[in-house]
Amino acid sequence: MLRPAEEEGVEQPGGVDAPGGARGTIAVRDAVKQFEGGVLAVDHVTFEATDGEFVSIVGPSGCGKSTLLRLIAGLIPLTDGQIAVNGVDVTEPRQDVALMFQRPTLLPWRTALENALLPPKLSGKRDGAAERRAYELLELVGLEGFEHTYPRHLSGGMQQRVALARLLMVGVDVLLLDEPFAAVDQLTRERLNFELLRVHERMSATALLVTHNITEAILLADRVIVMTPRPGKIADVIDVPFERPHVQEMVAEREFQQLVLRAYQGLQGTGVDDVADPKAGAHVG
Amino acid sequence: MLRLKAVLVVAAVALFAVGAGCGDDDDDGGGGGGGSQELVYNLPTPPSALFYPALVAEELGFFEEEGVSPKLAPAAEEISATAFLDNGDADVSFADVDEIILARAKGGEHTAIFSPQHTNTAGIVVPDDSDIQDISGVEGQKVGLESEDSTRFLEAMLESEGVDPGSVDTAVVGTSGPLIAKTLEDGEIQAYVGNASDFTALSANGVSLRNITPEEAAAIDGNPMAVLPDTLEQKREAIVGFLRAWTKAQYVGQVNREVVEQIARKQVPAEWRNEASGEAALDLAIDLMKSDDPERIGDVRADVWTTAQDFLVSAGVIEEDEKIDINEALDDSLIQEINDWDREEVERVAEEYSG
């Protein structure tokens, strides 16, 4: 399923330099989130991601990583601290940030094409150019021939691909992904991960991906942020030295396994819940 | 896109329906050419042979002759007919004697100006083979009722004949013919208080009944016509015209049954599915409308109204000191005018129709 990195004829998503900040920057400073009822989900988290990086956030269930992502997305308000995207403070959902969730959340009354065209439709820019782009993106994610199929007739993996195409319709510099492929089977998941990487390369956007699978986190990223169980703090930040493009075979390397171990130790912090077994994601050979 | 179409369809239907619900009523064929006056009259039934004068007057052109285009406003018996007069929904209303008395007792000004039925439509019956000969025989027995309202009529009848109402058990049986027949047959009830129409229907279908309604009670008018004084003043001409046409038609029924049957079969075919019932119902209707004095059809008679009021008092519906002045409740000033037409001419018109 891997195709050559350069594709011709597909427009690159937008990305003018944001005023007062470099393209695709996420800056989180001392972020704190406490819910009503006293639950402290995020406890003074600080990190940065810049131009074109792929950063994974890995942590056990309930550690606040999804909450952190939602804070950056502007879906929930900060209790304390600062979060800025592209140099602008985050107060509400933004047009320059694209989100992808576990559930593809396609509208069942729209075809794959029409679902992909939802962003331009909402922003009033659904024209011929947008439609052409949608066709191209669907082809890019491997759904050629299914443009006019309805979600009911698409498998979970295919639906996520439509969601991915929808994501790419929005010309952005920042991608936030919350365990986007958690709901599909292992094999499909691996395939989708690599498609994601391929797409990311072409887009040169900054991506932040949340997962509880350590192998996946390291495999996809340039940098891995390891979080402790709740309340979420950063336990460790691991640089991934492997060259792009990453390939499945990397997992067998000793260096890779050392990173996995390091991450695993970081997670131990105070009692580990259901972090995926570090060896589970490894397919040797 | 299809969604948009569906939404438009639904919206169109809804708007149309709202328009229909609020729009002008054009339900009945209230004829009326230019120049004829409209009058809304309320009956306790849909068009029926029971009130044959309405059908006959229409068919033989009497309404037209009198320059009236009447509009029927039917409403079930349970609905207060006097209320329609109060609301102005109807100009005149064929109500119950009781209803009118009660309305006046509460301060209303409803007046009875015409009463076509000089016999009561309500009564009490027993199976033909019953031992009970008259109403005194009902003491200690169980009596079926048409509805809860029938209780006071039963009590009044019992009191008037010196029977203690407390000795009688009652049960509401309703108006379903087969059910009445069954409960009488099985001996679950020994007598039934209800409507004359139900009695005749049962009789016509093989259930022999004997009417033991006391004379006094049987003489009370069935459905007198009530009107408010203001309306009478404003629409006097139309009301008189309406009643003249009505009395002509009522007279036709008394002298030419055939024509009335012809018209009834034509206008209300549904009532003739059971031939025996249809015939019996027509006979009953004509019988009920037999006038005490043929020259004064529809006369209002003070003595039977007084009896009716006494009945209400003895049944405890109104107190002795709440009684109204019967003479004020009745107005027979129109009766003569209403009856002032050529009987022979009317007979001729009827014969021409059937011929």
Partner: protein, 293 residues
């Protein structure tokens, strides 16, 4: 297209769809005759099925007056349904979007539902007159509640994830309403509409009992009072057919509008769109890939 219709009406297909209800009917008639035979119920209260069928035939084919009544009751039902549904929707939308409105209207909607119609009949007649309108309003009142409740439920139970997705795309409240809430609540709404269609018919008949010159409710009363019981049941049979007709119409409308719950419709739509798209781009129509991957 005609091939599709021909397929739907093919004898084998029809037979397959009809035999279950027919079998049930046979069983029902069997039990019925049995009950009459052992005198469990009297013939004068429940006629033989055969007598009912004969009456039905006579009324429908030989006499013709029943059609005026059918037309009257049908009109009252349809108009009443339309009115009640329109009101239900009109009140459900603000209730769904505003908790204050919901609390304000809720108790009254319930009160309206449980009030016996005969109690408020004089009010309705005073307001709507003696003609068709009073029947239409009574039917509307009865049809109102299921539509109100279902539309409200549909709006309140919108997919939270979808709502979040819309928010993340910067959708306005109006867009959220038209593009998410409205289509998302259609399945539940149609369940309510189907219920309301049948209830509107009941309401029209109840209205006729209260005050009417013609209609199937009037006919039932006329036949009952003269002890033409088989005829009365024949009218009830006719009412049953009308009910099925109204329900069927709603089902058809649902299949068209809420197409995404029906596989066949989805496949048809996919095909049509693909063909249209190819035509637009000037290429020969290409089949969409078979579904499922």
């Amino acid at each position: 297209m005609s091939a599709k219709v021909a397929h739907a009406l093919s004898p084998s297909r029809l037979a397959r769809r009809l035999w279950p209800p027919l079998l049930f009917l046979v069983l029902l008639v069997g039990l019925w005759e049995l009950a009459l035979a052992v005198d469990y119920v009297s013939e004068s209260i429940l006629p033989h099925p055969k007598d009912i069928v004969v009456s039905f035939y006579e009324l429908v084919i030989e006499e013709s007056f029943i059609w005026d009544d059918v037309a009257a009751t049908l009109w009252e039902s349809v108009a009443g349904f339309g009115l009640g549904a329109a009101l239900g929707l009109a009140l459900a939308i603000p209730s769904g979007l505003s908790p204050v409105m919901r609390q304000m209207l809720g108790p009254y909607a319930v009160a309206l539902q449980v009030t016996p119609r005969i109690a408020i009949a004089p009010l309705i007649i005073a307001w709507a007159g003696f003609g068709y309108n009073s029947k239409i309003w009574i039917a509307a009142i009865i049809a109102f509640f299921p539509v109100y409740v279902n539309a409200l439920t549909g709006i309140l139970t919108v997919d939270e994830d979808a709502r979040e997705m819309f928010r993340s795309l910067g959708a306005s409240r109006w867009q959220m309403f038209t593009h998410l809430m409205v289509p998302g609540s259609l399945p539940v709404l149609f369940a309510g509409l189907k219920t309301a269609a049948g209830l509107a018919l009941v309401g029209a008949v109840v209205g006729e009992f209260i005050s009417a010159e013609r209609g199937l409710g009037v006919l039932v009363q006329q036949f009952s009072s003269q002890l033409a019981i088989a005829d009365a049941f024949a009218v009830i049979l006719m009412l049953m057919f009308l009910g099925l007709l109204l329900y069927g119409a709603m089902e058809w409308l649902e299949r068209t509008t809420v197409f995404w719950l029906h596989d066949g419709r989805l496949v048809a739509r996919s095909r049509r769109r693909a063909a249209r798209a190819r035509k637009k781009s000037g290429e020969a129509p290409l089949k969409q890939r078979p579904v499922g991957a």
